[in-house]
């Protein structure tokens, strides 16, 4: 299986080994073309146009919502388009949790969270006097499920916010169990799926989750758009968040009424073309199918792990039993930033740093980690190239 031909970046850089999909993925032609076409010949604002161009744009936008919703196992009236995962989490924190949070209440997060799933809750705690409770992970990078269940016993827990797949460790969390446990205690739960939705099937309805969030740009889709799934019964008991056009029923200076459902949370002109691209990215993934996608990425992951195992001076951080193709590591005597820069010279793109997960990286005792992340666009040659480049790093720092 080789999907490189789907990605035009290889026309410009035939020897690129792009191993940074976890930061943001490259884009297949079908996604780029759909957006280009929309801008070239199908563009108009949506929702209030009484001419065909606008009607069609509206239909396309709502069809995109349906596609993305279906891709995640949701109904279209449960799917809100947002600017991305970060914006989605902020929305849930402020519009859902803030009004029901009191001093002393608790919000559960894990050690593995991305800053996007820490800081919005931290802010809420500052605003209300509530507390962040942290569920730790073991040295393999696996969530402490027992500690989680224990923490849930406190009647002060008002929300759980948990990452589905760690962007540093690749760990796939046992999210179904986490959700059941939370539901059993009647605690609402948000799952951060930013690193999950491009790599494994997700069905929010089956999961029974309250809120699920992800970003298109990590799913071979465009920048500036993401999805927020809201379980149907929560739409009504959420406050409005951002306000303005398109989300109102009636406006007067002394009385405003709001729309219900997804429009309630989509103030202003939406990222119309982003939605089209997002839907196309979902279609692209669906057309390949999860079996192939997962087989492809797991084969590469096994190949990568095998190759890295032969380096005695490299230590992989994050060895959970259930992982996607994300591998963080440290190399003796060489700082991750130097590794990344030298690899770049060999056209190998990896990321180095704290990966927006400072508490996690610090927990493992490093100031920074190097991270390799795999996507559909990768092939074995990329890993061979990486290994050759790592040899060079060792030579330079010998």
């Amino acid at each position: 299986m080789n999907f490189q031909n789907d990605f035009p970046v290889y026309k410009t850089y035939p020897n690129l080994a792009y191993l940074d999909s976890a930061a943001s993925s490259q884009k297949p032609s079908c996604v780029i073309d759909a957006m280009t076409q929309m801008y070239q010949s199908q563009y108009a604002n949506v929702h209030r146009g009484l001419y065909q161009l606008s009607e069609q744009a509206t239909i396309a936008y709502e069809a995109a919502r349906q596609t993305v919703a279906k891709f995640l196992g949701a109904l279209e009236d449960q799917l809100v388009f947002t600017p991305g995962t970060t914006a989605s989490i902020n929305l849930v924190a402020q519009a859902f949790l803030l009004p029901r949070l009191k001093a002393g209440d608790e919000i559960l997060v894990s050690r593995m969270e991305h800053h996007a799933n820490i800081v919005p809750w931290y802010r809420l705690c500052e605003q209300t006097g509530a507390k962040l409770i942290v569920i730790e992970c073991d040295e393999l990078g696996q969530l402490d499920l027992q500690a989680y269940a224990k923490a849930l016993e406190s009647h002060r827990v008002k929300m759980v916010a948990l990452v589905h797949v760690s962007n540093v460790l690749g760990t796939i969390n046992p999210i179904a169990s986490c959700i059941s446990l939370a539901k059993a205690r009647g605690v609402p739960i948000l799952v951060d799926g930013a690193q999950a939705t491009a790599h494994m099937p997700v069905n929010v309805a089956q999961l029974g989750v309250d809120f699920y969030v992800t970003s298109a740009h990590k799913m071979y889709g465009p920048t500036g758009i993401g999805a927020l799934y809201i379980a149907k019964d929560h739409f009504e008991d959420m406050m409005v968040y951002q306000t303005g056009g398109n989300m109102i029923l009636e406006v007067d200076f002394d009385k405003v009424t709001y729309m219900s459902g997804p429009p309630k949370f989509e103030a202003g002109t939406p990222h119309i073309v982003g939605a089209i691209g997002f839907a196309k990215a979902c279609d692209y993934l669906s057309s390949i199918g999860w079996n192939q996608i997962m087989a492809h990425e797991q084969a590469l992951l096994a190949y990568l792990n095998h190759a890295l195992a032969s380096f005695s001076d490299i230590k992989v951080v994050g060895k959970a039993a259930s992982k996607i193709g994300v591998v963080s590591f440290v190399m003796d005597r060489v700082h991750p930033h130097d590794i990344a820069s030298i690899l770049d010279h060999h056209q190998v793109c990896i990321r180095a740093g704290h990966h927006c997960a400072m508490p996690l990286v610090r927990y493992f005792g490093y100031p920074a980690l190097s991270r390799i992340s795999l996507g559909l666009n990768n092939v074995q040659k990329d890993i061979d190239q990486l290994i050759t480049a790592l040899d060079q790093v060792r030579k330079i720092f010998a």
């Binding site: 929702h47 209030r48 146009g49 009484l50 606008s54 009607e55 239909i59 029923l249 009636e250």
Partner: protein
């Protein structure tokens, strides 16, 4: 303009039938589409068998919404309430582009399904009618 502004629509939109009010109606209801500004009020006189003996409406809106109300009033008058429910579902199917049975004159509205923004104009009067019937409780549709 075939799709949207058929002659029948212009005719009913500019010269609506059964416009007016009913004093002491069996039921009445207001409908409002804030996004369009369309307003309508539907008045019903239902006889003891549950038949819509008379229907009148007042309202302001675009030609589509007025024509739809006018055609609706024509179609509904004289029918038992339970048939009105079926008719509503049929019209709804037509306007949302799904399948539907033969609807006679009401088919002049069928082109609207291509214009999602206008569908609400056409359904306002129907939703208002259904709300009016509902107000009368299950009684009305069970033909007391």
């Amino acid at each position: 303009m075939k799709g949207l502004y058929q002659d029948l629509i212009i005719d009913h939109g500019t010269k609506p039938r059964r416009k007016g009010i009913i004093e002491n109606p069996s039921a009445k209801e207001r409908g409002h589409n804030p996004l369009c500004g369309d307003q309508i009020e539907v008045f019903l006189e239902i006889d003891p068998d549950g038949v819509v003996k008379r229907i009148r409406f007042e309202g302001e809106g675009c030609a589509i919404s007025i024509a739809s109300a006018s055609l609706m009033a024509e179609a509904v008058e004289g029918r038992p309430a339970e048939e009105v429910q079926a008719l509503f579902e049929n019209v709804h199917g037509m306007l949302s582009g799904k399948g539907h049975d033969d609807l006679g004159k009401l088919e002049a509205l069928s082109g609207i399904s291509q214009y999602p923004m206008r569908v609400k104009c056409a359904t306002l009067s129907w939703h208002t009618l259904m709300a009016a019937l509902k107000k009368m409780g299950p009684v009305s549709t069970e033909g007391v």
